[in-house]
């Protein structure tokens, strides 16, 4: 089977001005947004606040969560719903720059504690104050201790069963759940638990705080990773292509891969964390490689078709390689799409970036890398000849 019955003949280079215009629009809009608008939002990894993921026993709405948070003066936090049942939320408190650096991580932690306490609600706090334990956050050892007085021999076993069940479900919503399969706890155990514990309204799934010092370090490391990978690729490109024009074109492609992807990304509410940097570099590598394959073809054809105009050779190379470009990008796109749909909340930003990047990579390879070589040859080389 083939995508194209015979080699297609699409005059890609005809569209170079349109492509350039589209690129410019995206990049300029992106740059304006990055520099003057909301722009790129640095995430928790770079020392900007705290990220807390929580799960509620019952479905709640974003506005209810916000109301609870406003009560402790944290109404300006970013609240995102995760998961389908309106039970999981991702809460991002914003940094407070008023405190000194020394206290900042502590203040992040205090903020996080405040978020958690305000979400727990008055009722849960009172129960805790009465000395009841929260069955939705108790650890194995404490639960074992507790159960010893009602089932001395089985305490550890029971505690493990309950905690494992809770781990699988995320949160225990009702006492009935404990009586039903798969736990099937006997009446005496559940009534004992009901008397000594309560089912907390929510549970903390994860909590991340990075202080300013480590944030600064991570920013430095990320910058180093980007700079060194780009240098690495440039060295490789220089080594691989003897012609300056191809090198220049590869660098141009590389720059615009980064610019377009980040421009589009800046229009989403998503934040930049370490996986995003990793994704960006992967996109660059992938797109550069596509470009290299096309350039190889061009030079191969130049040897056999000496009379042909460069523009036509380029078109032919692009067309010859079109099915390869589409298929390999297509398979990567399929896998990234699967990651985007099924991979879950934690990796979703990364998957999203890769989706943009894969499409953008094809676009830049086909429409943008060759024109640069062409311009170089048409304008810069001619000037040299005139001299």
């Amino acid at each position: 089977m083939q995508i194209f019955k015979k080699t297609p003949n699409i005059p890609f280079l005809k569209y170079k001005w349109i492509a350039l215009a589209v690129t410019l629009i995206i990049v300029v809009a992106g740059l304006i947004n990055i520099l003057a608008g909301k722009g790129l939002k640095l995430g928790v990894d770079f020392g900007e606040g705290t990220l807390i993921r929580v799960m509620f026993k019952e479905p709640v709405s974003v506005s209810e969560v916000r109301k609870l948070l406003s009560e402790v003066g944290l109404g300006d936090s970013i609240i995102q719903e995760a998961g389908k049942e309106s039970r999981e939320f991702q809460i991002r408190t914003m940094e407070k720059r008023t405190t000194t650096q020394d206290q900042e991580i502590e203040s992040h932690q205090i903020l996080a504690d405040r978020v958690i306490q305000s979400l727990q609600g008055e009722e849960d706090r009172q129960k805790l104050a009465q000395g009841l334990l929260d069955l939705n956050s108790i650890d194995r050892a404490s639960l074992t201790n507790l159960l010893r007085s009602v089932a001395p021999d089985e305490a550890e076993n029971l505690a493990n069963k309950i905690v494992d069940y809770r781990t699988e479900k995320g949160i225990i919503a009702s006492w009935d759940e404990l009586k039903r399969a798969p736990l099937n706890l006997p009446q005496e155990i559940t009534s004992y638990l009901e008397s000594r514990t309560f089912l907390g309204k929510m549970t903390v799934l994860s909590r991340e705080t990075v202080g300013p010092q480590v944030g600064k370090d991570l920013r430095k490391k990320a910058t180093q990773a980007i700079i060194w990978s780009l240098i690495g690729m440039l060295v490789y490109i220089a080594f691989r292509f003897k012609g300056v024009e191809y090198g220049a074109a590869a660098i141009f492609t590389l720059a615009q891969d980064v610019l377009i992807t980040m421009s589009i990304y800046s229009f989403t509410p998503r934040e930049i964390n370490l996986p995003i940097i990793a994704g960006l570099l992967t996109i660059v590598g992938f797109s550069i490689n596509d470009t290299i394959v096309i350039f190889d073809r061009i030079r191969e054809l130049q040897r056999t078709m000496r009379r042909e105009k460069l523009e036509n050779i380029m078109n032919l190379s692009l067309n010859l390689n079109l099915s390869r470009t589409l298929i390999t990008s297509g398979t990567v796109f399929l896998t990234v799409l699967s990651l985007y749909i099924f991979g879950g909340q934690v990796i979703n930003d990364f998957a999203f970036l890769m989706l943009i990047g894969t499409i953008e990579g094809v676009y830049s390879t086909i429409f943008l890398s060759c024109p640069v070589v062409l311009f170089w040859n048409q304008y810069l080389k001619k000037k040299k000849l005139h001299k």
Partner: protein, 511 residues
Amino acid sequence: MKKNLQWKLAIIVVVIGLCLFLIYPPKDKIKLGLDLKGGTHLVLQVLTEDAVNVETDQQLSRFEEVFKKNNITYLEANKEKPGRFYFRGIPVDQEGKARDLIDQYTRDWDYSFSGDRLTFNLKMVAAQYLRDLAVTQTLETIRNRIDQFGVAEPVIQRQGSDRIVVELPGIEDPDRVKNLIKVTAVLEFKLVKAGPAPDEETLLRDFGGKVPEDAEVVRSDPKRGTQGYYLVSKVATVTGKDLRTVRRGVDEWNNPAVHFTLNPDGAKRFEQVTGANIGKQLAIILDGRLQSAPVIEARISDSGIIQGRFTPEEADDLVVILKAGALPAGIKYLEERTVGPSLGSDSVRQGLMAGLVAIFAVMVFMIFYYRLSGLNAITALILNEIIIFGAMGYFKATLTLPGIAGIILGIGMAVDANVLIFERIKEEIAVGKNITSSIATGFSRAFSAIFDSNLTTIISAVFLFQFGTGPIKGYAVTLICSLVANLFTAVFVSRFIFDAFVPTNAKRLSI
């Protein structure tokens, strides 16, 4: 089968067999990162300045003693800042004697006279040594505490000059461990001179509103119930260093408490002080907060009990920190990431799902598009996955969520090599070459492109590994493994399958 093919088969079987051996059983061989297993990742900074400060205080009081003993007079002795203290008003004629004494007592401190002022400065090397020692000791103490607390496979490592990374898998109550690590755990027993009083003013009324020279004010720990201020003696009767054994028990009302015994030296002092102060209160102070102040009812020698309305967990934790000893310097948390076990197992489930869907989608596409040759690519892909996990097992690499993303991405990229080769073979067939030579040319022509494609991605992955932290390292590792394995499977294994299954005189190729 041709001899050369037999050799190739043998190589493939050995490589795959080795990898399977390295993976099996997966539960033990593939380590999951904290983001998948659940757990806490902490970065903490040792406040090494504390160690310098303590040394400065010690040297200051030591020289005060030495000078007094040797009849060197001075008007004032003071700490200027950590690492520097001075004596003022030493008579000129005693300067020589002072110099001799200092030379005799210390080599870690530089000193200089200017006018009537003698200034001590801690040498750079000595300060560095102290700081370094503080970090090493803190690390050891934290390790002891965590071991005592009982965490399976903790990672406690030094990072840079003054940071310590602590990774605790499978922790369900991170706050408890965080507190356990952070408390300095300086335990002191001091005689109570007055108290409790509701505030400092009331407490000091009998002393003319001033704290006597040999005493200090402590507050009771808010967690221990009764609030109040106490005036206690400055010098501790015994401290945490004098403890010989510590264990959890109960007090006479059956409440959780901590029992201890003292070493002979401590016991001697304890016996003396308790014997002389029967009827008075003895304050038990932890990190500057009074836990309880029992009345001394009889002379006690070498054992005692610490009570203070503890919960069972608090009593357990107190035993842990007392056994492990006090921290030589304070610590500060720089980074904290906690992933609960349910989010971790969710991530594993979702990652697995995404991976399976991805691999299935790619397989369907390859078979649909390349028919039997697609089957060849799929075989290569599956072997590729086996090699990735084998390599991870061999390098003891940790699988993280970004690592799973790397593997999934690798699935998409791995078939790239097959696509390059197959497209070339198709072109060769299209110009009318016979099948066998088309396959041979397809492979040789596509090789440089495959090499390029893997190399560009490996370049960025290597730097990500170099500069990345935990999860990102995981991504870089799986991506690199997947690309290197790809060179073997797509080029070597795929070629072998063609050579083995396509007859030399084949007229058609299902591609």
